[in-house]
Chain length 337, copies 2
DNA sequence: ATCGGAAATTAGAGCGCTCTAATTTTTCGC
DNA sequence: GCGAAAAATTAGAGCGCTCTAATTTCCGAT
C-alpha cells in the first residue's frame, strides 16, 4: 500500500525534487523537455500527489466542505448541485458531511472539516447554535445557507422565508380558506421565519383567531403526526401550510389515511419545491427556493473571502415564489362544515 | 486564521511536544497531572489537531470515503446511514462524495479520496469501470455496494438482483399479468442483473414473446420517458416492472398523465424500497434492499482488511424481498383489451 | 568570444504532527 | 535506604510536500 513519492519521481526523471513539485503544480517556467521527463516518470510509477503533505506545506486545501443538516432531505441534497458546479469552475473540490439532523452531528462534521483545514465550509439548513458557526469562522470561511442570520461575521444566503410563508397563506386565503393551519419545522432552519410569516399573514387577513400550529420537524413522519393532531381537533382546518415539502407529503399521507381527499377536503401547500413536490403524482403546491442559485452564491461568498476581496459580512436574501400545483383548490361550501 | 500548534500547547503547559502528542492521542501512561496541564493549555489556546499533519505522520486517516453515484437517489443516500452508524462505532469518520451520475464524476471522487489517503472507499451504485476500482485498490481498501462483482481483489456487498427481479415478475404473473414490460436502468449499477432476472422469469413463465424493455436510467424523468414509449406501443403492457423506485415513480406520473389508473389499468412494481416508495401517497409495490445492512457490511469489510484479518475478496449477497403495496393488483378482464 | 538579464533549476528550511528509542522519574520489595 | 523494574517523559528523525532564495543555464546583443 505504500505509494510512490515525489522523491522517487525525481530520481527516475533525473531531476530535483523541486522541479517535480513545479511540474505537479503546473507552474510556468519549466522547460517542455523536463516537464515531459517528469510526467513520464510519474506516469510510470503511478505517482499520485499526497494532498495531506501538499496541504500541510501550502496551508491551503482547495477544498470546500459542505455540512448538510440531513442528507435525506432532497432540498439539502439539491443545494449540492449548485455548490458543485460553482466549485468545479473555481477549481475547488467538494466534500460532503451529513449532520444527521442533529446539532451535535452538524457540529461534529464542522469539527472534522476544520481538522482537515478546508478552505471554507458551507452549512445547509444548520440547526447548530450560531455561536458554533461563528467560532468556526475564526479558522475558516463559513457560509450559512437556508437560515436567516444577521451575524456580523458570517455570510448567509437564503430565501425570504417570512415572505415565502405569506405567499402561501395569501394564496390560500385567496382561494377562500380561513381555517388554515400550519405544520411547522420545529427548531429546523427557517422554521421560525416561516412560522412568523404564517402568523403575520393570518393576522393581516384578520384571521388571528384561526391560527393553529402543529409541531413538525421537517420530516415526513413529523408531518404525518402533526396532521393527525390537526385532524383530531374539533374544527379541522380546510387548508394546511407545511413548513417544507417533506412534512407536506407526510400530512398528505395522513389526510388520505383519514379518508379525506386532497385538495377537495383539505388543501396543502408545502415549501422548498423539491423534486419530490414536482413529481406529478404528488404535484404539491409549494414555495420555490432556487436551490442552484443558493449553492452558487454560497460558493461565491467563500471565494470572495478567500481572495480577500471582502471582509465584512453579507446577507443575501432571495425572493421566493409560489408554485401552484394540484394539492390546493378553492374552498367549496361543503368544506366549511 | 493561523491556528495554535502542539508546540505552543507544549510551551504553555510546560511539557514536551511529545507529551502533548500522547495526550491528544489518548495514550496511556500519561500522568493525570500532566494530562490535565496539557488539556488546560489546549483548551485555553483553542487548539485543534491538524489532521493533515497527523495523517501525514501516522500514515492513517481514520477516514472512510463514500462515493455515491447520485446523491439525489434516495437509495444511495439511505445506504449512508448504515455506513455512518458502523463507522461511528469503529471510530472512523465518513466523508461523502457525489459522483453526479457519471463514471467520470465517480472516478474523480475516488481520485480525490485517494489523494486524501483515506483508509477505505465505499462506492455505492458505481458505474465506473471495474478496472478503475481495481486500480484504486492498489492504494486503499475498496468495497463495491449495490453492484455485482466477481472481482478477485475487490469486496462487494449487494442484493441478488436477478432474484429480486424474478420476485417482481413472479408476483405480477401470479396476479394474472402477461404483458409485463420492463423499464431498465441502462448502464446503472444492478441494471443488467435486473434485466436478466426479468427476462429469465418471463421465459420461465412461457412469456418470452411478451418481453419488452424500455430504456431508463434510474431517474424519474428516465422512467417517465420510458413509460411514454411503452404506452405508445400497439398493445400496451398491463404491468410494468421498473428497475428502481425513482423510475417507477416517473412511470407512474406518465401513466396518470395518459388518463390511466394505477393499479387498475396498469400495475407498477419498483425496486429498492426507498422512503419514496414507502410514502403512503405513492405506496409503491417494490423489492426491498436492506440498505442499512448493505452499508454496515461494507464498513465491516473495510475494517477486516484494515486489521489484516482477511486478504482474499468476499462477495456478500443478500436476499431481496418483495414488498406489496398499492400500485399492483390482479389483472381484470377489461385490461387485456 | 563576452556579458547581462531572463529563464530554468535546485538547495534547503520548514509545515505540524507521530513514533521509536533513549532518558528520567517513580515505585516497590527487602 | 538501595537497586532494579516499571512508569512517565522527552529528543529527534522523519512523513511528503511547498516555497523562497540562491544557483545555474540559456540567449541574444555587442
Amino acid at each position: 500500500m505504500s505509494q510512490p513519492t515525489m522523491q522517487q519521481v525525481a530520481e527516475r526523471a533525473g531531476v530535483s525534487l523541486a522541479l517535480v513539485s513545479l511540474v505537479m503544480r503546473q507552474a510556468p517556467n519549466v522547460s517542455d523537455y523536463r516537464r515531459q521527463l517528469v510526467l513520464d516518470a510519474a506516469e510510470h510509477l503511478g505517482y499520485r500527489p499526497n494532498v495531506l503533505a501538499r496541504n500541510l506545506a501550502s496551508r491551503r486545501t482547495n477544498t470546500i466542505g459542505v455540512v448538510l443538516n440531513d442528507i435525506h432531505n432532497p432540498f439539502f441534497a439539491e443545494i449540492i448541485d449548485g455548490i458543485q458546479a460553482a466549485s468545479d469552475e473555481a477549481g475547488y473540490r467538494v466534500l460532503i458531511g451529513n449532520g444527521k439532523r442533529s446539532p451535535s452531528g452538524e457540529a461534529e462534521m464542522v469539527e472534522t472539516f476544520l481538522q482537515f483545514r478546508v478552505d471554507g465550509i458551507i452549512t445547509a439548513g444548520a440547526t447548530m447554535p450560531m455561536s458554533t458557526i461563528e467560532a468556526a469562522s475564526e479558522s475558516t470561511k463559513m457560509v450559512v445557507v437556508g437560515r436567516s442570520s444577521r451575524s456580523q461575521v458570517i455570510d448567509s444566503v437564503n430565501t425570504d422565508d417570512v415572505t415565502g410563508a405569506r405567499l402561501a397563506v395569501d394564496y390560500l386565503v385567496e382561494l377562500g380558506h380561513r381555517r388554515i393551519a400550519h405544520i411547522d419545522g420545529g427548531t429546523g432552519a427557517g422554521a421560525e421565519a416561516r412560522r412568523r410569516g404564517y402568523s403575520q399573514a393570518m393576522t393581516d387577513h384578520g384571521l388571528s383567531a384561526e391560527i393553529v400550529t402543529a409541531g413538525g420537524d421537517f420530516t415526513e413522519s413529523g408531518g404525518y403526526h402533526a396532521a393527525s393532531e390537526l385532524l383530531n381537533q374539533s374544527s379541522r382546518p380546510t387548508a394546511i401550510f407545511a413548513a417544507n415539502d417533506l412534512s407536506a407529503a407526510g400530512a398528505l399521507d395522513r389526510i388520505e389515511d383519514a379518508g379525506l381527499a386532497v385538495p377537495d377536503d383539505v388543501s396543502i401547500v408545502g415549501y422548498d419545491n423539491t423534486a419530490l413536490a414536482a413529481m406529478q403524482h404528488l404535484s404539491l403546491t409549494t414555495v420555490n427556493q432556487p436551490r442552484d442559485e443558493l449553492g452558487r452564491l454560497a460558493v461565491g461568498f467563500i471565494l470572495e473571502r478567500l481572495r480577500d476581496e471582502r471582509t465584512d459580512s453579507v446577507h443575501h436574501m432571495i425572493a421566493p415564489a409560489l408554485v401552484k400545483r394540484k394539492t390546493s383548490s378553492r374552498l367549496t361550501a361543503g368544506e366549511s362544515t
